[in-house]
């Protein structure tokens, strides 16, 4: 195994996220403020460090990049103006591109289910998203009681709302897909 630090991965992530990752000097304020770092296998400052070191596999396989909610507490507190949540966004795209199994398959399944309803209807559709999510994760009974409670209170619509010019949304999704290698 080569001990030389490879810059390819670092450059790719910096480009993908447009964040000045090189500036990070490990003050750990991102991890200190992160509301979900307690549940992460790598904490935000560790993700950034591993990217600097070119250790792609550890980062792209991690569950941390999927758990990040994008609350941007890290961004607000970083003394070097790095938005670690945008780095996570870029890493998720790279993980998918390189065919890694998502470190948290439930989160990945939710994103996919949500976007599929938007792609087809032009609007989000909660029941459709949940149905697709449950089919993918085989989690048929989770939150069933809550779902019924919400339904009873008129918070879940049975019929989806759809836009008229859905073709425009279809073209946006096709262009996004076409840009990926």
């Amino acid at each position: 195994m080569s001990t030389a630090v490879t810059l390819d991965f670092y450059r790719r992530v910096a480009g993908e996220s447009s964040e000045p990752i090189a500036r990070c000097y490990q003050c750990q304020k991102c991890s200190g403020g992160c509301p979900v770092s307690f549940a992460m296998d790598l904490r935000p400052h560790e993700v950034i460090r591993l990217v600097q070191l070119g250790r792609d596999e550890e980062v792209l396989k991690s569950q941390a990049i999927w758990i990040c909610i994008g609350c941007k507490t890290c961004q607000a507190r970083c003394p070097n103006d790095i938005d670690a949540s945008r780095v996570m966004d870029g890493l998720r795209a790279l993980a998918r591109e390189r065919g890694y199994r998502p470190g948290d398959e439930r989160v990945a399944a939710f994103h996919e289910a949500f976007l599929r309803t938007v792609q087809g209807l032009g609007r989000a559709y909660e029941l459709g998203t949940v149905a697709l999510f449950k089919a993918r994760t085989r989690d048929l009974f989770g939150d069933l009681t809550l779902g019924l409670e919400m339904f009873r209170r008129g918070k879940l619509k049975i019929r989806p709302s759809r836009i008229r010019r859905r073709a425009e949304i279809g073209r946006i999704f096709r262009l996004a897909k076409g840009k990926r290698p």
Binding site: C71, K72, D89, D104, V107, H111, A124
Partner: protein, 292 residues
């Protein structure tokens, strides 16, 4: 005053009470809202989490539609507001610019970038509007202790969205005071509720919500007031067992509509999992009037 109105998907489903109360309060304050024609989903967290291009193109389609109206946009959903503002900020370079050019082709017109996107707190938090609110309040929330909860998306990233101090916002505090409520001091105003992890990782959301609800109770709050459908939904639906008693979670516009005694306010409370009626009853008892 006229604004283009971008309700977003949540306000047509899980957060319908936010839609109804926003429209009612704006109408009472003389603000006319025109719903954007054929608006589409902003893509929310899944879009920008998956693809930078989608994260700009999906919200931006709505900015193109807004430009046709010549009106500034009011977006009550904090996630939509954040996405729209991000699309504006990203339009000039990199993949955001690519998204803009792609949309110019698809829609056959140029992007001008000249509409302003506002959140209701930004519109109502100014001195003049606060005075207008005070004038309209006929049933002050006297004696009701509220914790104002802003969450993440209204203030971060500050370079794109914050219309006030991102770590110490006060617009909702001022509005609740204008409505007669007592605003408690607490340190969870801009903490995260777990947002879109609600479906995939409810275990994490339960943990985050518990921290927020306990802090609100410790500060003496009888209700939590929010301006984001994700915050409201997570706090309302995932707090069971977190504190020694349940805390109702109201949209800021619901609280205002109730204090203004607008007809649209009646019945909204039935849509909540934690019933706000007992908390409002204390205010009500002095007057013996209707419920939310």
């Amino acid at each position: 005053m006229r604004y283009a109105y971008y309700p977003g998907c949540s306000l047509h489903s899980t957060a319908e009470e936010y839609d109804i109360s926003t429209r009612a309060v704006m109408k009472a304050l003389g603000v006319e809202l025109l719903e954007l024609e054929d608006w589409s989903c902003c893509g929310a967290t899944p879009a920008h989490s998956s693809d930078k291009f989608l994260g700009v193109a999906l919200p931006m389609r709505n900015l193109f539609i807004a430009e046709e109206t010549g009106l500034d946009v009011l977006a009550p959903c904090a996630a939509c507001y954040n996405s729209l503002r991000h699309a504006q900020a990203a339009a000039e370079e990199g993949e955001g610019q690519e998204a803009r050019r792609a949309l110019e082709q698809i829609l056959g017109r140029e992007y001008r970038g000249d509409v302003q996107v506002l959140h209701p707190l930004e519109l109502l938090g100014g001195d003049e509007m606060l005075e207008a609110v005070r004038q309209k309040v006929t049933r002050p929330l006297r004696g009701l202790k509220v914790a104002t909860y802003y969450g993440c998306l209204l203030g971060r990233p500050a370079r794109e969205v914050a219309f006030e101090d991102p770590e110490r916002p006060v617009s909702m505090d001022r509005l609740m005071e204008a409505a007669g409520a007592e605003v408690v001091r607490w340190s969870y105003k801009t903490d995260c509720c777990g947002g879109s992890l609600a479906v995939a990782r409810p275990d994490l959301v339960v943990e985050l919500v518990a921290g927020i609800v306990r802090a609100a109770l410790a500060a003496g709050a009888e209700a939590i007031v929010t301006a984001c459908p994700l915050c409201q939904s997570n706090l309302d639906t995932r707090q069971a067992g977190a504190g020694e008693r349940p805390v109702p979670v109201l949209y800021v516009t619901e609280a205002l509509a109730w204090a203004m005694e607008l007809p649209e306010a009646s019945g909204l409370g039935r849509r909540h999992l934690v019933d706000p009626a007992p908390a409002l009853a204390a205010v009500n008892s002095q007057r013996g009037m209707g419920e939310l």
